[in-house]
Structures are given as C-alpha cells and as structure tokens.
C-alpha cells in the first residue's frame, strides 16, 4: 500500500515537475498555465452528479410563478449568462414571509436551488431570511457539485435583492466595480464569495460566482482579490479560519472524497470517515489497506498531510480500532 501511495506521490511530483518545466519554457506567456487548467476543466463531466434532492426539486419544483402584489422582488442573472432567477415574496404580520414564488431560466441545479430557496423562506421572518447563505441553500439540497455552487449563490443574491427591494435599500452589487466583464461580476461579489466560502483559486471563484469563466482577461484581478482576502485574514488569525465542527467535518469529507479516496482506490483500498473527536479525525480503512501493517505509515504520511494541508494544521488522524494490525 505504502508503495502505491509513494508511487502516486512520485507520479504527481513528476507531473508537476513536467508542468513546471513547461511553464518555464513559456514564462513570457502567463496564459499558458490557464489554458492548461481550462483544458483539464473542460474534460470534467459533471452532469449527473446531483443528489436525489436536487433531482427531486428539479423534476417537481415547488412554488413556480410570480406573486402579483409581491412585497419583495429580486431579479438576478441574464439570458446571456445562462441562468436567471426572479424571486417574489409576500409578507404577513411581523414581516413573516407567507408566500414565495420563483421563475428560473437555467440548468437543473438552478431550478432546484430556486425551488429550495422558496421552501426555506416560507414561514420565517425577513430577518431570519436575510441570514440565509448560499451554503445553506446547497446544504438544503444535500449539496451541489462544486461547479454548480454559483446556482446557490444566485438564489442568495435574488433573496438579498428582494429584501433590499422591500426595505427600499440600494442593492450592494451596484456599488462594486465590475471585474468580470463576461458575466458582469463585481469585485465586492468576488471578495464576499472568497471570504464566505474560503475560496483559494480562480477556479473556485468561477465555480461560485462565474467570474473568470469566459474570456479569462480578469484572472489577474481575481488572483489579486484572492490574495488580498487571504492576507486580510492572516494577521488577525494565523490558523485556518475558524470553522464550526459541522463545517470541519464537511471539509474533511470533501478532502477524503477528492484527494484521498482516489489514491487509495488505485490499490483497491478505501477509507471512511467515522468521527471527529476534538482534533482527532477517526477513520476506517477498508479493502487492501485495512489489514496492512504499513497502513499506519500511510495514515501519518499521506492522509494526515492532506487533511492538515487542506482543512486545518491542528488535526491528527487516527484509525478506528488501531491496535488490531495484521501483516499484509
């Protein structure tokens, strides 16, 4: 097992090295790196990776329509961008949302996010509704593919706009400066997405707010915004941004699914997250890693490195029933 992981690392390093050399050759052309990233991105197939709940809300959307005498109206997106949402709500006593309806042009996750949003805000007060984040919408649906997170952001934006409309306040977006011309995304929107969702790369930003997904001319500006947002955080908090346990678990799961599982699966192994106990990440290894004496090494060197790097440097990894080791 260790050999496999090691091989995986070496291979990864070799690939990185090759790419670096490639970049060096073209150091005059900063574009090279991006186009490589874009090419890889284009290969990803994301279509059917929806949760049952997304599919269910898409096939049977709730609250489709427009409330004629609405108190709040929020319209975001456009035909050119590929998705758009019109949200209307009606208030009852004490600013309680008694009805909410939507119209959406867009893909399955855009329709499902809109449907979820109307369900989430019906019956709560405007104040409560104003605290809903894009992540809440995604979680309501059991999660969205990363590339589709912008659908949840669109829902949140429409809600904020509708609330601002009701309160007669100017909508924040207007105050920002357009960074991404292709999708009309402002610096404030990008900043906010980066801060709220701990985004680290241009690709992340594109997934959440679409910025940078078109002509790519704004990539330098997006990089600067990401750098600034990261720097802003550093002085006040040297450690990773404070996360709730739920957020931490979710992030650990993501890292296990996207970074660790594929490596272990190459050798027929598998890993499952059992629990998070303080800073201890309890996992269970399966398949060919499960009975392997060297799995302790694997855990320490590979899984822990990944989890510390991508989640939090304080975490330690432990295997469930770790005293029972057999020899491979």
């Amino acid at each position: 097992m260790w050999q496999v992981v090691n091989r995986y690392f070496l291979l990864g390093q070799a690939v990185l090295k090759a790419l670096n050399i490639f970049y060096c050759f073209d150091s005059d052309h900063a574009v090279v790196k991006r186009s490589v990233v874009k090419t890889i991105r284009g290969e990803r197939k994301i279509m059917w990776e929806y949760t049952g709940k997304v599919k269910e809300h898409f096939m049977n959307p709730r609250n489709v329509g427009v409330i004629e005498d609405a108190d709040g109206i929020g319209e975001v997106g456009s035909l050119a961008c590929g998705d758009a949402l019109k949200l209307t709500f009606k208030l009852g006593e004490e600013e309680k949302i008694i009805d909410a309806q939507f119209q959406t042009f867009g893909c399955a996750s855009a329709i499902a996010s809109s449907s979820a949003l109307t369900e989430m805000i019906k019956g709560i007060t405007l104040d409560e509704a104003s605290k809903i984040t894009n992540d809440d919408i995604a979680q309501y649906l059991g999660g969205l593919p990363k590339e589709k997170m912008h659908c949840s952001v669109m829902g949140r934006d429409a809600l904020e706009k509708a609330i601002a409309f009701y309160r007669g306040e100017p909508y924040e977006k207007a105050e920002g400066e357009i960074v991404c011309e292709c999708f009309g995304v402002t610096d404030l929107e990008i900043q906010r997405a980066v801060q709220e969702n701990q985004l680290l790369s241009i690709e992340d930003v594109t997934d959440y707010v679409k910025a940078g997904g078109g002509c790519e001319n704004c990539h330098d500006k997006i990089s600067t915004i990401i750098d600034q947002a990261t720097e802003d955080k550093r002085p006040e908090n040297k450690k990773a941004p404070a996360m709730t346990n739920i957020q931490k678990i979710r992030l650990i799961e993501d890292v296990i699914d996207s970074e660790i599982k594929p490596a272990l699966k190459k050798d027929g192994g598998d890993i499952e997250l059992i629990d998070l106990d303080g800073d201890a990440v309890i996992v269970k290894l399966r398949g060919s890693c499960a009975n392997c004496k060297t799995s302790q090494v694997t855990l320490k060197n590979f899984i822990e490195t990944k989890i510390r790097e991508l989640v939090s440097p304080d975490l330690i990894v432990k295997e469930e029933n770790s005293d029972e080791f057999n020899i491979c």
Partner: protein, 387 residues
Amino acid sequence: MNSIYVDNNATTKVDPKVLDAILPYFSELYGNPSSMHSFGGSNGQKIRQAREKLAALINALPDEIVFTSCGTESDNTAIMAAVNSLPEKKHIITTRVEHPAVKNMFEHLAQNNFNVTFVPVDKRGRLDLQYLYDKLSDDTAVVSIMWANNETGVVFPIEEISQVLSKKGIVFHTDAVQAAGKVPIDVKKAKVDMLSLSGHKFHAPKGIGALYVRKGTRFSPYLIGGHQEKGRRGGTENVASIIGMGEAGRLALEELDETSRQMAKLRDKLENELLRRVPRSIVNGDTANRLPGTTNISFEFVEGEAILLMLNEFGICASSGSACTSGSLEPSHVLRAMGVPYTAAHGSIRFSLSKYNTEEEIDYIIEKLPPIIERLRNMSPFWKEAS
C-alpha cells in the same frame, strides 16, 4: 425502460457482426502479430485484411492506413507530423469550429511560437473559404479542417479545398471522424494528405482509430516505439479492435447508401415535427450540406441541461451545446463561432442518429419533447415577455 439513443455523434453501438468478429481475439487467439510463431503471426494476416477493408472505406491503399488508439491520437499525430517535418514553417491554419482534439492542439502550438489562423464560419456554420485562401502563405505548414462538424453536422467542401491546397503544396489534414460511414469519402478525389478516423463512431469498439497518410507525405511518428505500423506508430497492435474497425469499415461501406438514406429520412421527420410543434425553435447549421443523421435545434429561452435531464427521465439520450453541459460556463465554441445568440445557444440540443434508430423511436421523441420545452418555458422568467 429501454433507452432511445440519439447521441450517435458521441459514440455508437458496436455492430453485433463486429462483436462476433472480434471476440475470439480476446480469448483463444491472443497472439502477438509480431511473433515468429504462426499462433501470433496469423493475427498479422488478420490485421492486413482489416487494413484493406478500412482502406476501401475511403478508397485509399492499405499501406496508407496507420492504426492508432483513437481519433484524438490520429489528429494529434497528423498535426505534429506536419509541423515536425517542416520545422522552418511557423504558420498553421484550422477553423473555429474544430473538435477539441484539433482545436486544443492548435491552441497549444499557438503558445509555442506558432502563428495560428482560425478560419471563421458564417451563421449557418459554413466556412469562409475566401478568408482561408487569403491566409495561405509560403510559411504555412499545415491546414487542418474537419470533414463534418460533430455538433451541427455541417459538411465542409474538403474536395474543393484540397484542390487549392494541393496546387500550392500545403499539407492538408482533415478530421473525418464524424463523416466516415455517413457520407462517401474518396481520398483519390479529395486530395488530403492525412485523414483521421475513429472506430467507435461507426459501430466499432472504442479505443481504436486510424490515420490515413497519403503515400509520399512527410511523416514522423507521434508514439515512438517498435516497428509496428511500419514504424509509424509504436505499440503492440490492438488486434481485436483493429479487426473490429476493419469489419465495421466494410459494413459501413456496404450499407452506406441505405443507412444514410434511412437516417436522413428519420432526422428530417424529427426536425420538421419538432420545428412545427415547438414555437421559437431554430435549426443550427447549413441544412443543405449536412450529415444525414445529425440535427442541432435550439429551443429559445430554455437551458439545454434541463432539457437533457428531463429527456433522460424518458430514456431519451441526446446532448447539448449549452454552457452547463460543455463543462465550462459558456455555450459551445461551435455555436458561438456561428454567432448563434445566447438566447438560443443555451437551449441547443443535438440529436444524432444511427442505423439502429427506428421510426417508433423518433415518434416517441416527437411526442415527449414539446411538453418538456413548454414546461421549462413556463418556469422561465423570460418566456412570457418573449412570447
């Protein structure tokens, strides 16, 4: 639920006759054709026959066929062979609507000091030939133009272009992956120097392709290795799939007239009925010069992925040029190159037929699709204003 598969430009079903022909080569006949013993060597004979059959599909000589692993490898090989054998020339030409196998290779070369011309198309997807001819120069190393477009089915005048290019002595490659088995290809008439084929687009298995290299064309291998394919492509032959591609080529040639007539008839019915039943629907591409089984229709004010998912509920398999399905945030580069407005590009659906599609299947799609569009439009904030 049975699938209704109308996504044959993506891939096709392996013809049962092809499957029968290749199965023994996975089990008892597993020899390496390069071996001295007759157990392996006799497979060499089978590969020769497959090469002859595939050559016949495009009226080439058997020796002009190089088997590869896929269409992409064929495209990459052809382009790199051309630029490597003419190192002093730094100008290369292609179109704005190529498959990624060609498009991304040209973009890659553009970042490695090549001067690239992307020939535009008009709003019906037809190539601007004058633009192409004006850009030809002594510095031009290669021109690569697809025979037929995978998204719209538009067929380019390869024979006409080849006459101009061969007079100037410019290397001409064509990606005929979508055309083979659907329209006649004759390399004696269309004087291309290299031509790419992919097995799984005409009922052979996936993982097998071929590159036609005209006798006398300067060539350098892309995969450097053993003596296989006369040193033009190293690597032990994919015996079973080569035999399958030969057999599929033979069947495609034999059935070409009949299947293309049948596909065109069903495609036309599907297209005409959908246009008639669904308001604000538009065909993308030049209907006068098109592959027989392909239609690309935009349903305005709805989004393609949503349509596909709802079709999927009925077992109907198609594809879309919308942003959400292209893996990026922008709709297909082909539709954008044609200047298809965003209102329509996001809602484009490609239906691509094969010889296996039946009239009942087409009728089923005609019945199921219009209500889906209506349902999604009623959900769309733009529809009421537009209608």
